[in-house]
Each structure stands twice: as structure tokens, then as C-alpha cells.
């Protein structure tokens, strides 16, 4: 049986452009299948190339892109920042 979970996404900095309808700081709520990885949300749902993002953080903890998401997870997606 297919189980759907709800996750909360926050896009930071330049990644906001992938959901231009969101106000600054506004989270995005998504329903995805149980067992979905961060990478799949990134690439298939949000259309963000995985090479742009190295890590995501889930409930305040860094996870790699193979991390399997759970219901209620808060997912932050942050691009590399390198300027000085």
C-alpha cells in the first residue's frame, strides 16, 4: 500500500528561484511517497540539480542526499557559499 508523508522544505539563497511563488522565508509543504530520498525530492520534485547541492539538513542535522525522509521532516536546502 502506498503511504504518503508530508515534509516541510525551506529553500535558501539562490535556490529560492526554484519556487518563485514562495515568499521570502516561507516554507513549502510537500506530500511524497514514504521511502523518498532527499535527492529525489531535490531533483524530481523541485527540479534542483543534485550537483548544485552537496548536503541538506533534516530537522537541523546535515544529511547526505541519500537520506530517506520521514513524515513531518523539516528539510533545509542550502547551496555552497564560498565568498570572502
Amino acid at each position: 500500500m502506498r503511504t504518503v508523508i508530508e515534509i516541510e522544505i525551506r529553500l535558501y539563497a539562490t535556490l529560492k528561484r526554484y519556487r518563485p511563488e514562495l515568499k521570502v522565508g516561507e516554507p513549502l509543504f510537500l506530500n511524497v511517497d514514504e521511502g523518498t530520498t532527499a535527492k529525489r525530492v531535490l531533483e524530481e520534485v523541485l527540479g534542483i540539480p543534485a550537483k548544485v547541492v552537496k548536503t541538506v539538513f533534516v530537522n537541523g542535522i546535515y544529511r547526505d542526499l541519500d537520506h530517506v525522509l520521514a513524515d513531518g521532516d523539516r528539510v533545509g536546502i542550502f547551496p555552497p557559499v564560498g565568498g570572502g
Partner: protein
């Protein structure tokens, strides 16, 4: 009386800092400091002017006089507003410390400014660049009149103007795997104020090899991040993995606007001061993420 001090001057000036003779000289120096001390609130302080007089009279560096004053429980008044936070011991630790700042751009300039003002005794400054006009929007030491001149030189001049007790060792070279081992040697903390991800990782590697804590900061747009990385911590690897990293990040698109380096460099300076003075909790195993545009700050921890 004055003659007696001139004899001491020779002893101290020759760098004889151990043994009975030194103790006698230091006692005399501290006695002199106490005589010049003024009462401010419930503590004794000594003015910058008097520190300078003693320094030139006795042939000691300003730092040596300031340290002798601190040991005699007389606070150099220039540090009065530090005292409540860093304490007597913390101030002395700061003065005895060496901090290497790698990169003197947006972040490095403000970090150096803060460390000189707080009274870090020795700064090792590393940057091979000269100022160009697009640095003027944000780089603390860039002025219209020093365009084309070395960032290290400008930083040294600025520090001398802010706090002449601070010893500056400038290296007008780009940090490389070949020169970093030598340049970082003897530092108590290293500041990552670079602008390329691979170079930042190289710096983390060398700091780890030498067992020196590293304070990382990076900016792009109105976004910044700060993390303190102790030797053996995952540090930047937790963020970017151990594979290849991009050369640059969002700053390519968003640039480095004026106030962002101030915001992140302030946090970096706080981290350095905390580590050196032995106060507070460093941002260790925690990445501080600041998105000033969204008005959000987050502290992210690495997964185990």
C-alpha cells in the same frame, strides 16, 4: 631612581626574561606601573600614554608593558570595556596569543580590525592580493588612496594605528600547500577568510595537521555561514563531502554586498576571542547559517 631603571632597561631589553635579575626588573617595572595607575571605578588602570612612556623609557615593547600591568592587576585602560566579558586572565591570554588570518578581503579585514582592537598580541596576515576598486564596497582596509597596494601592507598600517601593542607578521603571498605549513606555525587559532572552497579545504587540512583550531566563515549575497573546526572535526567535509568541491558558490551570482562580510566577520572574531580567552561555547560541530535576506538564522549540526 631614573638611572636604576635604565639599568633594568638593559636587562629586559636584552631579552633576559628568566632568572633572578629579571624578577627584580619585573618587580621594579610593576612597581612603576602601580605608581602611574589611576583608579577607575573599583579597579586600577593605566593610560595608553603612560604605557607608551614606560615602553620607550625601558626599551620594552608595548605588549610587554601591558602584560606586566595585567600581572600587577593594573588594566591598560584601552581594554577597560573588554574586561567584563574577557576578564583579566582572558585579556592576558589574548595578548599572548598568535592568530593567523588567511585572506584579507571582506571577511579578513573586519576580523583583523576586531582582533587588533580586542588586543590579540600577534597577527599573522596572509594574502597575496593588492586592492582594486571593486573591493571598495566592502573591504575594511580598502581606500581610494591605497588601490594597487598590498592588502597585507594596508592591514599592517591599520593595525599599527589601532593598537601598536599588536605585533604584525605580514606575508604578501597566496596561501599554498607548500607555504602554509611554515606560515601557520606557532598560531593558536587560524581564521579562514578565503574565497575559494578548495583552498578553504586545504587550509582545514593544514590546521588539522598542526593541531590548530580553525574558524571558518563564508559569504554570498546576504547569506553567510560560520563554523569553528577543531583538529579532527569533520568541518567542511560534513558540508561538502570528501569528493570534489566547486571552486565557488552562490557569491558568483549574488556577489558580496557591503554588510554581509561585517556580519560574518563579527561572528568569526567572537569565535576567535572565545577560544583564546577560554570563554563561552564555540560553534563546534555546529554550522551557523545566517540568511539576512529571509531574516533567518539556523544552527545546523552534522549527522553522526
Amino acid at each position: 631612581m631614573a638611572r636604576g631603571y635604565r639599568q633594568d632597561e638593559t636587562i629586559i631589553g636584552n631579552g633576559v626574561f628568566a632568572g633572578g635579575e629579571f624578577h627584580m626588573s619585573k618587580d621594579r617595572l610593576q612597581e612603576r606601573i602601580r605608581m602611574l595607575a589611576e583608579v577607575e571605578g573599583d579597579i586600577e588602570v593605566i593610560s595608553l600614554e603612560q604605557v607608551k612612556v614606560l615602553s620607550s623609557e625601558l626599551g620594552l615593547s608595548l605588549k610587554e608593558v601591558e602584560l606586566a600591568a595585567l600581572e600587577a592587576c593594573v588594566l591598560p585602560r584601552r581594554y577597560l570595556r573588554n574586561l567584563g566579558t574577557v576578564g583579566w586572565d582572558g585579556q592576558a591570554r589574548l595578548l599572548r596569543s598568535t592568530v593567523a588570518v588567511v585572506g584579507l578581503g571582506g571577511l579578513g579585514g573586519y576580523v583583523v580590525e576586531a582582533l587588533a582592537r580586542v588586543g590579540v598580541g600577534r597577527l599573522v596576515l596572509i594574502d597575496g592580493d593588492a586592492f582594486v576598486d571593486h573591493n571598495l564596497n566592502r573591504q575594511m582596509f580598502a581606500t581610494e588612496s591605497n588601490l594597487g597596494s598590498s592588502k597585507v601592507q594596508a592591514a599592517g598600517a591599520r593595525v599599527a594605528g589601532i593598537n601598536s601593542a599588536v605585533e604584525v607578521v605580514g606575508h604578501a603571498v597566496e596561501a599554498t600547500p607548500e607555504n602554509l605549513p611554515r606560515l601557520l606555525e606557532g598560531s593558536d587559532v587560524v581564521v579562514d577568510a578565503l574565497d575559494r572552497l578548495p583552498t578553504r579545504i586545504m587550509l582545514q587540512e593544514e590546521a588539522r595537521r598542526q593541531g590548530i583550531p580553525l574558524v571558518h566563515g563564508a559569504i554570498g549575497g546576504m547569506v553567510g555561514q560560520v563554523m569553528t573546526i577543531f583538529p579532527g572535526d569533520e568541518g567542511l567535509y560534513a558540508l561538502y563531502g570528501r569528493g570534489e568541491v566547486p571552486e565557488r558558490g552562490i557569491e558568483v551570482e549574488l556577489g558580496c554586498p557591503t554588510a554581509t562580510p561585517m556580519m560574518v566577520a563579527s561572528w568569526q572574531a567572537q569565535e576567535v576571542i572565545k577560544i583564546l580567552a577560554g570563554i563561552g561555547e564555540p560553534l563546534r560541530h555546529r554550522l551557523l547559517l545566517i540568511d539576512a535576506e529571509a531574516g533567518i538564522m539556523d544552527v545546523i549540526r552534522p549527522g553522526i
